[in-house]
């Protein structure tokens, strides 16, 4: 046999860091768009517009981040738009019907009206988020225990949850009259829009989870080769379940943000958001085949999409073009992703 053949073949060339390049490319694309729009329009680089952009991007950034966890395991979560919409209904209902009761009883034990209101809102929000995680747990059950393809189980909730929400509201819209709640989405903290702050609050633990903890490593391992991970002692079922629960939690957070931003609970909001989230994630370098993805990728992807939309509006580009540009960008990025895979 060829003893030295393996010696030669065993020294692969240093891998060109395409993923890092892609990250830089995305920042470059975002910067170029910012510069271009600042130059071409007088309205883009204004505090009002930028904070508007930050709010628009924030919604998709969080959805895309949750979606990314699932895609890294080589799954897909089609339900995130429906979950977000359903949670707007839930949180609106809770705030309108349960919160006042909590406020009254807290005021009875000496809370100020303002403090009682804040506590009541947090109770409602946490209940809504918990419900979101329960929906994620249902997806996980379908995938892990029933052996359903992720596409199917999340497609089922994608349609069913809209129905549940419509039944709960009888098809109508619930208006949220709590000013503290609706004021949150318009507010700022240290000059940064609150909704953007939520992105940071979500992204930091997400970064720790995905990039620094062993659970993140397991997520990649499961997406790359579940059998190898299993034989190495990784609890594949638990790891997979976590991804779906986190994706649904992110969707629930977006539901609360949407309810605050629109001041309504409505089961027909957020139509098509799941595809926006997938697009943002893919533009951010996540591979639909699993095992490749990051936290910053989907965040950048979401803000790139938001900037395209914002800029097109400001430049009076026919809004229909936005869809076409987004489509073209997806093809371009995924094509380069394929090239990156081949080089490896």
């Amino acid at each position: 046999m060829t003893d030295n053949a393996s010696a030669m073949a065993g020294a692969p060339k240093a891998r060109f860091e395409f993923s890092r390049l892609l990250g830089l490319t995305l920042i470059g694309v975002l910067l170029a768009m910012f510069l271009f729009l600042s130059w071409k329009t007088t309205t883009f680089a204004t505090p009002g517009n930028l904070s508007n952009l930050a709010r628009q991007g924030a919604i998709f950034a969080i959805l895309a981040l949750g979606q990314t966890f699932v895609i890294i395991t080589a799954g897909i979560d089609l339900s995130v738009g429906a979950v977000a919409s359903f949670i707007t209904v839930v949180v609106a209902m809770l705030i309108q019907s349960v919160a006042p009761g909590i406020v009254v009883s807290l005021a009875g034990v000496g809370f100020s009206d303002y403090a009682a209101n804040i506590v009541a809102l947090w109770v409602c929000i946490f209940a809504a988020l918990a419900l979101g995680m329960a929906i994620g747990a249902f997806h996980a059950f379908g995938v892990v225990k029933m052996g359903l393809p992720p596409f199917i189980i999340t497609l089922a909730t994608f349609t069913a949850l809209r129905g549940v929400g419509l039944l709960m509201t009888n098809g109508s819209t619930i208006n949220v009259t709590n000013d503290v709640f609706t004021g949150f989405s318009r507010g700022e903290f240290l000059g940064i829009p609150n909704l953007f702050m939520v992105v940071i609050i979500v992204a930091v633990p997400a970064f720790v989870y995905l990039h620094l903890s062993r659970w993140g490593r397991y997520l990649y391992a499961v997406g790359s080769n579940a059998e190898a991970a299993r034989l190495s002692g990784v609890n594949v079922q638990a790891v997979t379940a976590t991804a779906y629960i986190l994706s649904a939690l992110c969707a629930a957070i977006v539901g609360v943000m949407l309810a605050s931003r629109t001041g309504t609970g409505n089961a027909t909001q957020a139509i098509g958001f799941e595809l926006e989230a997938i697009a943002a994630s893919v533009i951010g370098g996540t591979s639909l085949f699993g095992a490749i993805g990051s936290v910053w990728g989907p965040l950048l992807g979401a803000f790139i999409l938001a900037t395209i939309r914002n800029g097109a509006n400001l430049m009076n580009v026919n809004s229909f073009w936005q869809f076409i540009i987004t489509g073209g960008l997806i093809i371009l990025i995924v094509y380069f992703d394929g090239l990156r895979r081949q080089r490896r």
Binding site: A5, G10, A14, R217, A221, N225, A229, G233
Partner: protein, 507 residues
């Protein structure tokens, strides 16, 4: 089909042009020499058997003959004309077809649709379904199979599907038909039908290449037989002039390389004691692995060795029997449990079971031990680097960096990752399932030396191999498996190669 004048298989005039002649045919893959230059002439209308151990180069030869992989060098001469034969379509155009052990057809389509797949009868662009079913039925009836043509292929048994695959090949003007262990899944009756078909094709002048482990089939069917060993064509015999003992002797590598370093260590207490264990694919297996010893499991692919291992490791459920771990009864229900007890598994298939190919070398090495590398919530980056670099250095894994993707490494170095991931873990029982498949000799020797190191540290090794010299030279105890059962147990080099191979094949 070409009908040649001669029907006498052995006494052929020397001047007859062989249907296919191989001259110096050779195939190298990265790191392995799968087929060393081989010269072989297939005579028109003969049944030519090919035998050899697993990994001897039989599959490589089939892939070359059917154009699935291009050759590295050498010539292929078809009826006296040099031919390129580097794509499957070229092979089919010449009239070369193969029937594989696993049926590679579309189970959801009808029998007729499968027979005509890729060659459908149409009328103005539309399929002539009923005509095809009629014609397929005629083909099947002509061959003497009592099978319907209009039902989905999946409604037939595997054996019947195999017959359909043969009918498909036979119906397309095949002149050169390769069978790769066709009877592996057939019942006796189905096998008889297949043999009748093969004889008939032969009488029509079709050349048959027949690959099988079953000696009795070769002596029943074949005119000549060629033996492959370690990628070398070591001989061709007329079946009428050879014996199965001679063939077995040819199949076995007599010149044992210097690569086996058998070191003997003091045998200690039992680590794993399996008693009458049964499960999917294995039945009533009992064996003991003690500190400082290598227990070998030998058998052909599908003999139930890997299934037994997966049962012990908690990957597959066990249906009967008990397992003692260091003298205590244990009920292992998950891989994690097995690992926590102190088992380590380097599984049979590196690509499917052993590695996360599109992830880094370091991540693969550390996969079983991330819990130990974790401080608080996060992984200690320094310890992660250290643990990976230690194995890369100790095992001399040739990689650009610990972040290089596992798929960028050669087979031998990939295998070192699969083994290395358990060395940081510090297991008591190491299970190596086919650890040297597709691994070059140098790396093989390194892996065997590593066995000695593990044994000296008081570990036990369960070594599964289809490569007889490996288990023969290394195992203190050798269990022979056949058809999911443990058919024999021997001490270190207690019996001859021939006897073990005979037990495994079941002559």
């Amino acid at each position: 089909m070409t009908v040649t004048a001669t029907h006498a298989p052995v006494a052929r005039p020397a001047a007859a042009v062989p249907i296919l002649e191989l001259r110096g045919l050779e195939k190298r893959y990265t790191g392995t020499h799968a087929l060393k230059p081989a010269d072989l002439a297939f005579e028109t209308g003969e049944v030519h058997a090919i035998v050899g151990e697993n990994g001897a180069g039989k599959s490589t030869l089939i892939k070359l003959l059917t154009g699935v992989t291009p050759r590295t060098s050498g010539e292929m001469i078809w009826k006296g004309q040099a031919t390129d034969l580097s794509t499957p379509n070229e092979a089919i155009a010449l009239g070369i077809n193969a029937v594989h052990q696993e049926v590679v057809l579309c189970p959801h389509l009808t029998v007729a649709a499968n027979i005509f797949l890729g060659d459908e009868h149409t009328s103005r662009g539309l399929l002539k379904d009923r005509a095809m079913v009629r014609e397929a039925q005629k083909i099947i009836d002509d061959l003497g199979f009592n099978l319907p043509a209009g039902v989905p292929l999946s409604s037939l048994t595997i054996g019947q599907q195999q017959l359909i695959a043969t009918a498909r090949a036979a119906s397309r003007g095949t002149q050169f038909l390769i069978f790769d262990e066709p009877t592996a899944y057939l019942t006796r009756q189905e096998a008889a039908q297949l043999f009748a078909l093969i004889r008939r094709l032969k009488s029509e002048g079709v050349t048959i290449v027949y690959i099988s482990h079953r000696m009795e089939e070769i002596f029943e069917l074949a005119d000549r037989v060629s033996v492959l060993r370690d990628g070398t064509l070591v001989g061709t015999r007329k079946v009428s002039e050879t014996t199965d003992a001679e063939l077995v002797a040819l199949m076995i590598n007599r010149s044992i390389d210097q690569i086996y370093h058998k070191e003997t260590f003091a045998i200690g207490a039992p680590i794993l004691d399996a008693r009458h264990l049964s499960g999917p694919g294995f039945d009533d297996v009992s064996l003991t692995i003690r500190e400082g010893e290598i227990v070998g499991l030998y058998g052909l692919i599908g003999a139930g060795r890997s299934e037994f291992v997966m049962g012990v490791y908690g990957r597959q459920p066990r249906t009967a029997g008990e397992v003692l771990w260091q003298g205590r009864p244990v009920d292992i229900r998950s891989e994690r449990q097995a690992i926590d007890l102190g088992m380590a598994l380097a599984p049979e298939s590196r690509r499917d079971q052993g590695l996360c190919l599109n992830l880094g070398v370091g991540l693969n090495i550390n996969l079983p031990v991330f819990d130990r590398l974790t401080r608080g919530l996060t992984i200690s980056a320094a310890q992660e680097r250290q643990a990976a670099d230690k194995q890369i250095a100790d095992l001399r894994i040739k990689t650009a960096s610990r972040n290089a993707l596992a798929l960028s490494l050669s087979g031998g170095n990939q295998q070192k990752i699969v083994i290395g991931k358990w060395l940081n873990h510090g297991a008591k029982l190491f299970i190596f399932d086919e650890p040297t498949v597709g691994v070059d000799v140098g790396t093989k020797a390194e892996i065997y030396r590593l066995f000695g190191r593990l044994l000296s540290q008081g570990a036990g090794i369960l070594l599964i191999s289809s490569y007889l010299p490996e288990v023969y030279e290394l195992a203190d105890q050798l269990h022979v498996f056949r058809g999911g059962r443990q058919v024999a147990t021997h001490g270190f080099k207690a019996v001859s190669h021939e006897q073990i191979l005979t037990e495994a094949i079941g002559i």
